[in-house]
């Protein structure tokens, strides 16, 4: 099925019903979904902000590796792990 097949050409996006929100009360980023509130750490926020349905998985990894001067293979592993986990929960469409 669509959700678990993450390829370099996937264009991940947050579907309607899933929102990344900065919570002014708790001073943290949260991912809101049906009956779910998940704290998003800094890395997750940077990844999810780039999941706009137009950027490919490869482009997101390139962009993050460049912006944070990080090892590309490691960034790719992080992005793959996060998106895979969220796709299984239907909180990201690939």
């Amino acid at each position: 099925m669509e959700a678990s097949e993450l390829s370099t050409l996937s264009k991940p996006r947050l579907p309607r019903g899933v929102r990344l929100k900065y919570d002014e009360t708790r001073h943290e980023w949260l991912l809101l979904a049906p009956e779910r509130v998940i704290k998003a750490n800094e890395i997750a926020v940077e990844i999810l902000k780039r999941c706009d349905g137009t950027a490919t998985f490869s482009a997101i990894v390139d962009d993050l590796a460049a912006q944070f001067s990080a090892d590309r293979a490691r960034v790719e592993a992080d992005v793959r792990a996060l998106l895979g986990e969220l796709a299984a929960k239907r909180m990201v469409d690939l």
Partner: protein, 373 residues
């Protein structure tokens, strides 16, 4: 998730707004109270808007618009638009009856985030019988189509009990077919009308175990297709549920007439003092109302809870269930095998054994006629 800081009470994550107790269906497992609020006592839209504004400002993230049937209110779109405006994640919990394609499009345009549609069974005739409403199943199917066509994410809510437990897996299949991204398979919890109908709703242990195994297997095989949130049956468990994620810890309920409760059944516990949102702010009620503070922390606990290492996991279970089954809300939830009352649970659960016919339903209705006999 966002647990409150140690030693202090955090803001609630969710508000469940029972916009009305009116509902065209008569589901016998309904968790609403037996004495329902009348239409003339319902809060007007202006009051609901103020409540949602206060809730959002003070840290509430999710607004669940429920009932009764929230679509019974003519001002539902106006209320949804306000929730969206103040930044709440807005979820409509509906039977689908009373929604038209046009109304769903209006709700979508107003900024609704998500819809939970209740389905009574995968079999149409059985579903209509459970709901006490001819044609309900067909209307729900139509509503599901309009919801997904409007682009709204859909969760199917399925309450499981004796009449539909053999089709729990089929209900998951139906949810996938209807385009839902998520399904809640919730075994009946015995509160309100559900408690009144307990003998008619209770499945056998073997049926419960088979359904649990079937749904758990589907959870794995359908990962990435549909999310299955599975609420397993209390009465066949060893430990109690962490009811409401802890009393006064994560969420609050507002009744149609404005009473603010720690949970939908809290009014069944005698002696609790509830405050009304007509008279006080949501924040004031959350922190200061006697009902919310009654079972916070562990000072109220007795043994076996007080010295139990699980007291920070399940908080001793459900206070309403403890009261209903032991006569004292401070007792351990007797679902727990450590409760001295636990043996009584087995006796009640045994009502589900045997292939004989179950008692007739007391259908949910605004006035308790049948109980007057």
């Amino acid at each position: 998730m966002t647990p409150p800081q140690q030693g202090r009470i955090g803001a609630p994550v969710a508000i469940l707004a029972e916009l009305t107790h009116r509902c065209p269906l008569g589901c016998p497992y309904c968790s609403n109270p037996l004495v329902l609020d009348a239409r003339e006592d319902e809060l007007p839209a202006a009051e609901w808007k103020r409540i949602f504004s206060e809730a959002a400002a003070f840290g509430v993230l999710h607004a669940h618009l429920s009932g009764g049937e929230p679509a019974s209110r003519q001002d539902l779109v106006e209320i949804v638009a306000h929730c969206a405006k103040v930044g709440l994640y807005t979820n409509l919990i509906t039977s689908g009856i009373g929604l038209t394609r046009e109304r769903i499009e209006q709700l979508s345009a107003a900024g609704l985030d998500h819809v939970q549609l209740a389905i009574q069974d995968a079999d149409a005739a059985s579903a209509d019988k459970i709901a006490g409403y001819e044609g309900a199943f067909a209307r729900k199917r139509a509503a599901a189509g309009w919801i997904t066509e409007a682009g709204l994410p859909l969760t199917i809510n399925a309450v499981i009990h004796r009449a539909n437990i053999s089709r729990a897996g089929k209900m998951v299949g139906l949810a996938v077919e209807l385009g839902a991204r998520r399904i809640e398979i919730a075994h009946t919890q015995y509160y309100g009308w559900g408690m009144l109908n307990r003998a008619a709703l209770m499945p056998s242990r073997a049926e419960a175990e088979a359904a649990i195994a079937e749904v758990e297997a589907l959870k794995k095989s359908l990962s990435g297709v549909i999310v299955i949130d599975h609420v397993v049956p209390d009465y066949h468990a060893r430990y109690p549920k962490a009811c409401m994620g802890g009393w006064g810890k994560r969420g609050l309920n507002v009744t149609p007439s404005g009473k603010v409760l720690p949970c939908h059944a809290a009014e069944t516990i005698p002696g609790l003092e509830f405050w009304n949102a007509r008279e006080r702010s949501i924040e004031d009620i959350w922190f200061n109302s006697p009902a919310f503070n009654a079972f916070r922390g562990d000072g109220w606990m007795r043994e076996p809870c007080r010295s139990c290492p699980r007291k920070t996991i399940d908080y001793g279970g459900c206070r309403c269930q403890a009261f209903a089954l032991t006569g004292d809300a401070r007792e351990a939830d007797p679902v727990c095998h450590l409760s001295p009352h636990h043996a009584e649970i087995a006796g009640i659960a045994a009502q589900g054994e045997g292939a004989g016919s179950a008692p007739a339903y007391h259908y949910r209705q605004m006035k308790l006629r049948e109980l007057a006999e």
